[in-house]
């Protein structure tokens, strides 16, 4: 399980250099190579997938033609609900008699849960990381615009050692303004599609996509924005245990689909400070800071 403590750190700050030992991971999988393992990890898939699909926009305004650029960083924080901190685990192997118990997920209590069997035998379910939040920080670059469209890119990579390999994040997205077709004035509408990929060596692969309808309205130096969308995410974890060559292979889908987002952007000259809250199965708060050019000046002048 120690591997997953390390993994969480990586997922949180993306580019941290941390010590990582195969043994830590093996201590986890020696217990969780089965259905328990998938249930233990599922909340991570939900939270991380939702984070990946966030912090991608802060206005729906896209010029019809001309230079428009935003470079910044978005920090997303998924709030871990109490319901995602426990699951019903089942004893495995030759523990006798078979029993079920409510035990921690990866975000649950750090206390190991041990249940007693025949003859003073005990089955121990690993504890979690005792987390209420899962943050993720990601750099963003948005460039436009051509025919009312812009392009968003995300990229980060860091090599954390030969045992695990490289942590890598790549994402892209395109948006198209609907103001080209609709007689709207200071109210802006756009549709967007975003794709994200995250990997940790050959062990972790995460993907996410988001399609949404975005709207925004400028008022003085503030832009109110929001979106409704549909999202999808997956988290795949694969590892071969050195002890007996057994393999874990968790392919998990994030428990997220429809989402609604409401937010504010403070236009402080070229400095853009934005925050939004997403209502979905996995709720989260986003905070972003960056430099934007040609994004709102014309809009504010209007």
């Amino acid at each position: 399980m120690r591997f997953f403590a390390t993994l969480i750190v990586l997922l949180c700050i993306s580019l941290s250099a941390v010590n990582l030992r195969a043994q830590d991971f093996e201590d986890f999988i020696s217990k969780y190579t089965d259905a328990n393992g998938k249930a233990y990890m599922q909340p991570l898939a939900d939270a991380f997938g939702a984070n990946l699909n966030s912090g991608l926009y802060h206005s729906a305004y896209i010029k019809d033609q001309g230079f428009q650029l935003y470079l910044g960083i978005s920090v997303m924080n998924a709030f871990i609900p109490e319901s995602n901190k426990t699951f019903l685990g089942n004893t495995q192997g030759f523990f006798n008699p078979e029993q079920s118990a409510t035990v921690p997920t990866i975000f649950g209590s750090s206390q190991v849960v041990a249940i007693e069997g025949d003859g003073e035998t005990y089955y121990a379910f690993p504890g979690g990381l005792d987390l209420d939040n899962l943050p993720l920080a990601v750099p963003n670059l948005t460039v436009g615009s051509l025919l009312g469209s812009d392009l968003t890119l995300r990229w980060a990579a860091y090599d954390i050692g030969e045992e695990v390999g490289k942590v890598q994040l790549f994402g892209w997205g395109v948006r198209h303004s609907l103001n080209r077709y609709l007689p709207l004035e200071s109210f802006h509408l756009a549709v967007g599609y975003y794709m994200q990929q995250f990997s940790v060596g050959d062990v972790v692969d995460a993907d996410g996509w988001l399609a949404n309808l975005q709207a925004s309205y400028p008022w003085r130096f503030i832009t109110f924005y929001g979106a409704v969308g549909y999202e999808n995410s997956t988290l795949d974890i694969r590892y071969t245990y050195e002890g007996d060559d057994s393999t874990i292979d968790f392919d998990m889908a994030g428990n997220n689909s429809l989402r609604a987002t409401l937010g504010l952007t403070f236009n402080l000259g070229p400095v853009k400070l934005h925050t939004d809250y997403t209502l979905a199965n996995q709720q989260l708060l986003t905070l972003g800071l960056g430099l934007g050019f040609g994004e709102t000046v014309k809009m504010l002048e209007e």
Binding site: S30, D118, L273
Partner: protein, 184 residues
Amino acid sequence: MKAKFLALVLGAVLLAGCEDRTFEYVATVSQSLDYTVDQEGAFDQTYTVVANSFNDELDLPDDAIIGDVFIEALSVGVKELSGNEASAVKLTGSAGGINFVEDLVVDVATGTYEFTVMAGLIEEGIRRMRDDLMGIVESGNPPSIVFRLQGDSDPVAGQRLNVDVRIDVTVTVLYAVETEFPAL
């Protein structure tokens, strides 16, 4: 006003740091006890688990703080070798001189081991096994544990036995490690 607001937010973001947190881990190892019985009638054999070998297999981090050791389960399989005449064996096992199972009847399988739960475990013997393993994990003392296996053919005693007996002991070690972790 805008500048102050910006500084406040930036400060809040940058203040998020790390803290030392203690996490509990669960390491599980399976220790196989192997016995080859090739004789007529009652047998009495031992298998010695050496502390250093067990700890090497466990391979805990150097900074691990041992919390507890559990015996999770025992399973047993008996595999037939050429010339065997018994259809089952009756087993009594002990660790450190105290029985953890008595007169357990296990069918002899042909070809490969067919492991079954070792039922009817005796608390006193399991407790002794657990205490000895705790000592091995914590301090390497005792330097070894002798697992003794006695038995005979069943239901007819005294038959020709030529079998491999394997007992798998699943051991769980709870340990803690202090780790630098983001303050979340």
